[in-house]
Every structure is written in structure tokens, then in C-alpha cells.
Symmetry: D2
Subunit: 92 residues, 4 copies
Amino acid sequence: MTHTVRDKQRLLARVRRIRGQVEAIERALESEASCEKVMHLLAGMRGATAGLMAQIVEDHVLTHLVDAEKHPGALNEDAAEQLLEVVRTYLK
Amino acid sequence: MTHTVRDKQRLLARVRRIRGQVEAIERALESEASCEKVMHLLAGMRGATAGLMAQIVEDHVLTHLVDAEKHPGALNEDAAEQLLEVVRTYLK
Amino acid sequence: MTHTVRDKQRLLARVRRIRGQVEAIERALESEASCEKVMHLLAGMRGATAGLMAQIVEDHVLTHLVDAEKHPGALNEDAAEQLLEVVRTYLK
Amino acid sequence: MTHTVRDKQRLLARVRRIRGQVEAIERALESEASCEKVMHLLAGMRGATAGLMAQIVEDHVLTHLVDAEKHPGALNEDAAEQLLEVVRTYLK
């Protein structure tokens, strides 16, 4: 995932937190925790997953849509930021 | 909305269909239609709204992220298509 | 929509606001407003649509799932509230 | 999670599949797989998470909203099914 080498540690930290949340849901189900608790854990994990996807999409847009070495300055940064605002809104 | 001049009629057709769906919801509420009917109408209108947003995002990505006159060929089309697949999945 | 007679005016006010938002999007497209503006208007309208659906689902849960005249007190209000919290989270 | 004792194994199977999907994403990030691959894995995991939430909400509605021992027959099954259709649509 070349566009995230730079951000690899940050993405890995996010995905490991999500793994911890999934494990907490598994434990809650095994121990027959209340339905309310399971739904809360699941909603939290879904939010974290959306955040990870938003991060990956952001890296993708900023790094992959234009090869900055071949075409320096070609990416319209304002237009990219507008796109990412929409993505973040929809991934919440 | 310069990036959609080409697609302006198509976008207007979509938004007018959505307006018709909103008006149908208004009439359903006024005539005290069943809750089930109102929820179905609303789900349909939400789908159409997501489709409009996906279309606008697609036009934005393909037209605005790179000024094709100044930087011909700078937009990586495969990367753009991968992005749009994600957007479509999340906007369903 | 018997379960919303009581709330009919409130729901109609919501749907009329959405209609106004759709009309603003139509005008923005017709006048070739910036893509950014159209995306913002559309995101606002989507939020209002989600709010309307959340309201209708809430009315449905509180009024239709149990016939309160035949089965007074049968609806578990805590469980209903937990359900509605999840619905609101997902409809944001 | 008393309302899912019956379905406990089914829910655990779902959550374990999600854990496997998260682990696959972690491995993909560690091995610097393509961005496209990571986005596909993440979209699949998001779909599975939505399916788990829909299942839990369904169990919650059918088991917790009405205490069937104290109030047999009080839950309006048609109204519950209409609600669950909406939930499934929005959780896709």
C-alpha cells in the first residue's frame, strides 16, 4: 500500500484498536452482556471503521490520484479538500 | 457548477425526480397514509439522493481534481475509478 | 399515517423544509453554482432526510409496535429507547 | 445478552468472521498491499459489521420490546417487520 508507507504506523494503530473493539464485542457476547452494551460497543467499532476508511481514502486521494513526481502541482488541492469533506461527512 | 455543464441536464433530471418524491411524501403525510407507505417512499427518496451525490462526486473527481488543459494525463484513471467504487459503495 | 396524527404538523414542517432544500439544489444546478456549493446543499438535505426518517421510525416504534389500548404497559420503554438510540446513530 | 442466548452461536460466528476480516486488513497494511485491496477488504468488513448490527437489532426488537410471558401477543408482528425492513435498508 505504497501511498500509506508514510502513514503506515498510524493506520496500523487504527486497525489494531478496531481489532480490540471486535474482541470486546466477542467477549460481551460470550458473557451474555446486555443487549444495550453490545449495541454500544458495535456502534463504537463502526465509527472507528468509518474513521479508518476516511483516512485511507484521504491518503489515496492525496497520493494516488496524481503522480506528484511526473505531474508536480497537477492536483487541485482545494478541489481535493472539498471532496474529502464530503467523504468525511458520509463516512461518519 | 462548471464541472457539470456537460451533465447538467442529467443532474437536473435527477434532482427533479427527487423533488417529485419529496412531494409524494408530503401528500402521503397530509392524507395520513400508512406509516409503512411513508417509510417506503422515504427510503426510495434517500436512495435517489445518494445516487445524485455519487454522480456529483464522480463529476467532481473526473473534472475538478486535475485541470486537464494545464496537466493533460495527470489524473491516474485507475486510482480515480477505485476511489469512485468506494464512494458508490458508501453512498448506496 | 395514524401514528403521526399527533405529530403530523411536525412531520409536515420537516418534509416542507426538505422540499425547500431540494428546490435550492435545483436552482444551484440551473445557475451553475460551484460544485462545492451543490455538495454542501446536498449534504444538508441528506441530514434533514435522515432526521425525518428517525422521527418517523420513533413514532412508529412508540405507537405501532404495541396497541397501547389493548396491551397497556406492554412496551418496554427502556428497550425502545435503546433501539431508538441505535437508529438515531445510524441515521445521522 | 439474554435476548440472544438462542442466537448466541450465530452472533459469535458473525463476530469471529469480522475479527478475521480485521486481521486480514492488518496483514494487508503490514505487507503494504495495494490501496485498492485494503479498501475492498475494509468495505467487506463494513458490510459484515452492518449485518451483525441488523441481526442484533432484530433480536432486540423481537425479544426485548415486549415481555412475551407477561404480555403474550402484544407485539404487533407486522409493525415489527416493517421496522426491521427499514433497519436493514439503512444498515446495508
